[in-house]
């Protein structure tokens, strides 16, 4: 049985009209922006299922653009998200696409920065304003933003997990959840670590210095 907070019932505070099509969409895009972690030049959205069918009626498009611009689901600027994106110089485009066997409210977002670096993520709005990122660059993951989250994209070689755990332990960080996802042995992999407390800058710098690390991002819990 799913664990509930009283604030899942009296909440979330959000911009309407729909918790799954508006609030959850904004949250998915907000988390994806955090994972990308770079100045965004271009964001392309591929809408699946119910998102594709009803996106304008429920302001799903505005919510997604708002999230990519850094707005949380309760940010009143979501109603004007397209104007904000244009002010931030972010190019936006929308397509409908069948993303396969995923939740009906799912979107793929492809980000591009000013140096031509690009990354794609898939996220679902799973109900009641909750979000789940299910893929980063085609590697299946599971990220909800409920905890402070560190994401280490790396090459799957022995010792990497031990090194990260050691650095966190040295910095007195308690790991709430740790999940390892990989493509195939010895290739690209993702470690998702959720913690109760924030991870200090020096710990992140030590992790960043690790061999075989491709990219590191960290963000605080998203309420």
């Amino acid at each position: 049985m799913e664990q509930y907070s009283i604030f899942d019932i009296i909440g979330p505070t959000m911009v309407g009209p729909s918790s799954s099509h508006t609030a959850g969409a904004a949250k998915v895009a907000y988390i994806c922006r955090k994972i990308f972690g770079r100045p965004i030049k271009k964001a392309t959205f591929y809408l699946h299922g119910s998102f594709a069918d009803t996106y304008q009626g429920h302001g799903t498009d505005k919510a997604l653009v708002g999230g990519v611009c850094g707005m949380k689901p309760d940010d009143p600027r979501i109603a004007d998200a397209f104007a904000v994106a244009s002010d931030q110089g972010i190019q936006i485009s929308f397509y409908k696409k069948d993303l396969g066997e995923v939740h009906p409210n799912t979107v793929k977002i492809v980000f591009e920065d000013y140096e031509g670096y690009s990354q794609e993520m898939v996220g679902s709005s799973i109900g009641g304003g909750k979000a789940k990122i299910i893929a980063i660059d085609e590697i299946d993951v599971s990220i909800t933003g409920r905890y402070a989250t560190m994401i280490a994209q790396h090459i799957d070689l022995p010792g990497f997990v031990a090194n990260i755990s050691q650095i966190l332990a040295n910095n007195n960080i308690n790991i709430a959840f740790m999940k390892l996802f990989r493509e195939t042995k010895g290739e690209r992999a993702v470690i998702v670590i959720e913690t109760d407390d924030t991870i200090p800058e020096e710990a992140l710098m030590q992790i960043e210095a690790l061999r075989n690390l491709n990219k590191l991002t960290f963000f605080e819990a998203i309420t």
Binding site: I6, G16, P17, T22
Partner: protein
């Protein structure tokens, strides 16, 4: 802390003497590890957003209130009070007006508190604001009532569903109405058993209600169903406080509601392919709105 059924809540009352608010606070503290003071302040924040939404929607001059089908309407109900043309009495009419007002803000992409969902977000604040004005409850009392409502809603979420796509409108407006009914009983000094009885009757009264949004929007019939959710909460609380118990216990009613939801065809679960969503007029709106979207 086990809190899956009304029986679990009553156990907390019988063993520790906790009321509905105290059970809610204790549960939240145990599951989040946040201190009680902070949890209380978080709920105050929700109440402030709820009141702000009601006020925004009631503001006749607010140009931002505009749906794709529904226009600004709630203020008309409140204006009707005291004109000699009002029928339902001041408290009920206000509860309806405030519920509709919140929904008008929600439809306009304004800020609301999902309770338990955005589509049913008017019921609980509308009922609480009306009962607050009628009985001069202070905000601290309303916050306690919100915890009471949260406990009731959470049990329904765990045992049945609070999603229209899963359980139909009964899961959204039905749940919101049950939450509001229990919170009114709590405020009026009724017992914990009476709070669950009022919630049980509120669900009974809306059992089987389908989710059939015109053009897939959270406007028709959702907007006005928030008014029935609020007034249903008040009449259920009134009946129970007058000494009329629920014949079927809350926990059994919730299971029945789940079974009804499980048997509901997909066309009656938020897909806009059944009920009033496929009437001739609904289809006309759908066509107009979709054409408008292409531009």
């Amino acid at each position: 802390m086990n809190l899956k059924t009304a029986a679990d809540v009553l156990h907390q009352y019988e063993k520790y003497g906790l009321n509905l608010y105290e059970v809610g606070l204790k549960y939240e503290h145990k599951q989040s590890d946040i201190d009680n003071d902070t949890i209380y302040k978080l709920m105050l924040q929700q109440w402030l957003v709820m009141k702000e939404a009601i006020n925004q929607g009631m503001d006749e001059s607010n140009p931002q209130i505009k749906g794709k089908i529904i226009q600004r309407e709630a203020y008309k109900l409140k204006a009707n009070i005291g004109t000699g043309k009002s029928i339902c009495g001041e408290t009920t009419t206000k509860a309806m007006a405030y519920a509709l007002s919140t929904m008008e803000v929600n439809i306009s992409m304004g800020r609301i508190v999902a309770a338990p969902t955005a589509g049913a977000s008017g019921v609980l604040p509308g009922t609480l604001k009306a009962i607050q004005e009628a009985n001069h409850f202070n905000d601290d009392q309303i916050i306690e009532a919100l915890f009471a409502a949260g406990v009731v809603g959470m049990i329904i979420a765990k045992q049945a569903s609070i999603s229209g796509a899963k359980g139909g409108c009964q899961a959204e407006i039905g749940t919101a109405s049950a939450m509001a009914a229990a919170s009114v009983v709590y405020l009026m000094g009724g017992s914990i058993h009476q709070a669950f009885d009022a919630a049980a009757i509120a669900i009974n009264n809306l059992m089987g209600l389908i989710c059939d949004p015109v053009a897939g929007l959270v406007e028709v019939p959702c907007h006005k169903r928030n008014a029935i959710g609020a007034s249903n909460a008040l009449i259920c609380a009134e009946m129970v406080l007058a000494g009329m118990p629920s014949i079927i216990p809350f926990d059994e009613v919730v299971i029945a509601m789940k079974q009804v939801g499980d048997l509901m065809p997909a066309c009656h679960r938020e897909t806009a392919t059944g009920g009033i969503a496929i009437t001739k007029t609904a289809k006309k709106y759908e066509k107009e709105i979709m054409t408008y979207h292409v531009n």
